[in-house]
């Protein structure tokens, strides 16, 4: 069983599922504890390392194969446009390992739903851990803004309750990383930023991106305030073109391993942990994606 080093050293461990069925080693993890002494129903090591591009990758992600036929409207394609193949399911299971492997260690045989739910979000989003008070977290947000490096996207969001300097796992404590990611669209020189945490689903994200980047064509051509109202209605009620199935554009994202992936394959929560930035790519460039 691969013992882990401490947080300081990069052990260069591979991102493989460990032979020990109780251990899942993350791609960057150099600090996975030896848990053979613990009775673990499902022992998950807590990844010390993040998912920066190095280390051995899992067996590929879902690579884009063919471009799907375009439609009349400018719309962005996501994974729903493409057939879910066995390839995607195997890749999602292998690409899911790093996310799960960063999950919270619970030293018990049973885990509460909360710990499990949190686990899907990645190690650093264990609720109420590290035990830091709310007002300090809030001031760190501002700290981060002052010290910001270019791609500093790991800002903590406001918390409702804090663990009181101690170890209570209060359910109301939702310390999530607020994730602003860059969005670029082919052909548009100036990019935008979206807060992924402000969207609960692919659908909502897609709509925001369409509003940001794509002109919506009103279904009729009225003038004046009626046009505005109608347009608003259109925006609110139409099904997201992003997830519909026809477009000149494809929505892709760069994951922590540096690969460009199609948006929509993995559950939303999992997507949040691995996305680094988004790109609205011309379909003509997205070679290799099978049509829906």
């Amino acid at each position: 069983m691969q013992g882990g080093g401490g947080g300081g050293s990069e052990s260069g461990s591979m991102s493989t599922v460990s032979r020990d069925e109780n251990m899942v080693v993350s791609s960057e993890d150099s600090s996975c504890p030896d848990e053979s002494g613990l009775e673990l129903g499902l022992g998950l090591s807590l990844g010390g390392g993040g998912g920066g591009g190095g280390g051995g990758r899992q067996g590929g992600g879902f690579k884009m194969h063919h471009v799907s036929k375009g439609g009349p409207y400018a719309r962005i394609l996501t994974a729903k446009d493409f057939p879910s193949s066995s390839l995607s399911s195997s890749s999602s299971s292998s690409s899911s390992s790093p996310s799960l492997s960063k999950a919270n260690v619970t030293a018990g045989t049973k885990r509460t739903a909360e710990s499990v739910a949190v686990a899907a979000n990645g190690s650093s989003q264990v609720v109420g851990w590290p035990p830091i008070r709310a007002y300090r977290m809030n001031s760190m947000v501002n700290q981060a803004k002052v010290l910001t490096m270019e791609n500093h996207k790991k800002e903590t969001s406001m918390v409702e309750n804090s663990s009181i300097g101690g170890y209570r796992n209060d359910g109301n404590t939702k310390l999530k990383k607020s994730t602003f990611v860059k969005v670029n669209m082919d052909g548009t020189p100036i990019g935008r930023k979206v807060d992924l945490n402000a969207h609960e689903s692919y659908e909502k994200l897609a709509k925001t991106l369409e509003d940001m980047f794509l002109e919506t064509a009103p279904s009729v051509n009225p003038s004046g305030s009626t046009a505005l109202q109608l347009d608003m209605l259109n925006r609110m009620t139409r099904h997201s073109k992003l997830l519909d199935g026809s477009s000149d554009f494809v929505l892709t994202y760069e994951d922590k391993e540096g690969d460009w992936m199609l948006v929509g394959d993995v559950p939303w929560e999992m997507f949040l942990t691995s996305v680094k930035r988004l790109r609205i790519m011309r379909k003509s460039e997205a070679t290799g994606l099978a049509p829906r």
Partner: protein, 421 residues
């Protein structure tokens, strides 16, 4: 409230994250009002009426404690200090704006007049280049809170060279081990150290402090008795050295931020580290453990930590036995908080007779079931046993349990998610 309280001496708005719209509350102090001794609005997030504040501070000649919020600039700070040289405790506002040379000199001069100042907070976003303005004040300082200023090690070192009398120091881990070495070198009277993580959620950055910094402090500061230390790596040997140097710990709160992380050199659990702490530090009242821990840690705690009153445990232990050791051994235990540990009903019930002498027990994400809690509630009617369940969890699991003694019976104000058994 302000308008009615003519003899108010303390106005302390703590940690509430209050977001009031505008600083009009300051204008509520009438001109005849001069009795304020303590004014703390450091946690208000909004701007304030500075003119009103300046006048207020100017006429309250007994003011000892003034803690400003971030909206107050350096230049404004200088204007306040000029009229309040008697201040003993100052929480600055933002410490980061651009100053002209003349403004800098004026600030330094105003600070140097504050000969009574022994406590300094705030320093939000402090820029290293302005820290020398603080030097004149530093000689008398006993408490310096730099935990909102992301200083580098060299900046801290230079500052600490002027702080020989420091007893309490709070910093961010941006100062790194080198900064802590400077603590050990310059502050022999230090009694309390808190090192907070600047970036607690960033798994990718290997920064911050390590065991080396803590050890360095322990060599230079034998009077250290209170520590809160957030780090990403630790060893058993380091902790053993630390407590050998500083046997008087009353509060030892070590947070290795990766849950369940072992000694990074030997790969062993951190049992011996906390064993050393409880064996050596006989005055220990508060202990927070972290890292990879087996039941052995809790055996040590139960056997040696006879003065322990507060214990915080997370992601630790191997079985019920661990908690049983604590419940059986720590006769003075008052508060026990546990999360994500493999302690179940047997552990919970082992404390049956103990909970009435304790203030509270918190257990979350452990292996306690509803039946266990019901049994506890039934056996000990003078305890309130409150269970909070998580959405989607097993019906039989007691996700969060809070137990405390009460003569008033079950509380009536519990939200619906809280079940009192």
């Amino acid at each position: 409230m302000i308008e009615e309280e003519m003899n108010l001496t303390e106005l302390d708005i703590q940690e509430n994250g209050i977001d009031d719209k505008g600083g009009s509350w300051l204008s509520c102090f009438p001109e005849s009002f001069t009795s304020l001794e303590v004014l703390n609005f450091a946690n208000l997030s909004s701007d304030i009426n500075f003119d009103a504040l300046e006048r207020l501070v100017g006429r309250c000649k007994s003011m000892r404690v003034l803690k400003l919020n971030r909206s107050v600039s350096l230049e404004q700070l200088q204007r306040l200090l000029v009229n309040a040289p008697q201040l003993a405790e100052l929480g600055t506002g933002s410490f980061s704006e651009e100053l002209t040379f003349r403004q800098y000199v004026e600030l330094e001069s105003a600070l140097s007049n504050c000969q009574n100042m022994h406590t300094l907070y705030g320093l939000w976003d402090a820029k290293g280049i302005y820290l020398p303005a603080l030097y004149p004040v530093c000689t008398h300082l006993t408490f310096l809170n730099l935990s909102y200023a992301a200083l580098r090690s060299d900046e801290l070192a230079k500052l600490l060279a002027h702080c020989p009398r420091l007893k309490r120091l709070w910093v961010l881990d941006t100062v790194e081990d080198k900064g802590l070495e400077a603590v050990g070198l310059n502050c022999p009277l230090l009694e309390e150290l808190r090192v907070f993580p600047a970036d607690p959620f960033d798994e990718e950055i290997i920064h911050g402090v390590t065991e080396a910094g803590f050890v360095a402090v322990s060599f230079g500061c034998p009077r250290l008795h209170y520590v809160l230390y957030f780090c990403r790596q630790m060893t058993n040997a380091a902790v053993a050295t630390i407590v050998q140097n500083c046997p008087d710990f009353t509060h030892f709160r070590l947070c290795i931020m990766n849950p369940g992380q072992p000694d990074y050199i030997t790969n062993e659990p951190m049992d011996e580290a906390f064993g050393a702490v409880v064996k050596t530090c006989t005055k220990l009242q508060r202990l927070s453990v972290s890292g990879r821990l087996t039941d052995l840690t809790f055996e040590y705690i139960g056997r040696y930590a006879k003065n322990l009153e507060t214990l915080s445990v997370a992601f630790a232990g191997s079985s019920d036995w661990g908690m049983q050791c604590v419940m059986g051994g720590c006769s003075k235990l008052r508060k026990l908080e546990i999360r994500d540990c493999p302690f179940g009903n047997a552990a919970l019930l082992s404390g049956l007779e103990k909970y009435e002498s304790m203030r509270s027990l918190w257990m979350s994400a452990c292996n306690v079931t509803m039946n266990g809690c019901r049994l506890l509630a039934r056996e000990m009617p003078r305890l309130n046993v409150e269970v909070m369940k998580e959405d989607g969890s097993d019906d039989s699991q007691a996700d969060k349990v809070y137990v405390y003694r009460s003569i008033a019976g079950p509380r009536r104000d519990a939200p619906p998610s809280v079940l009192t058994l």
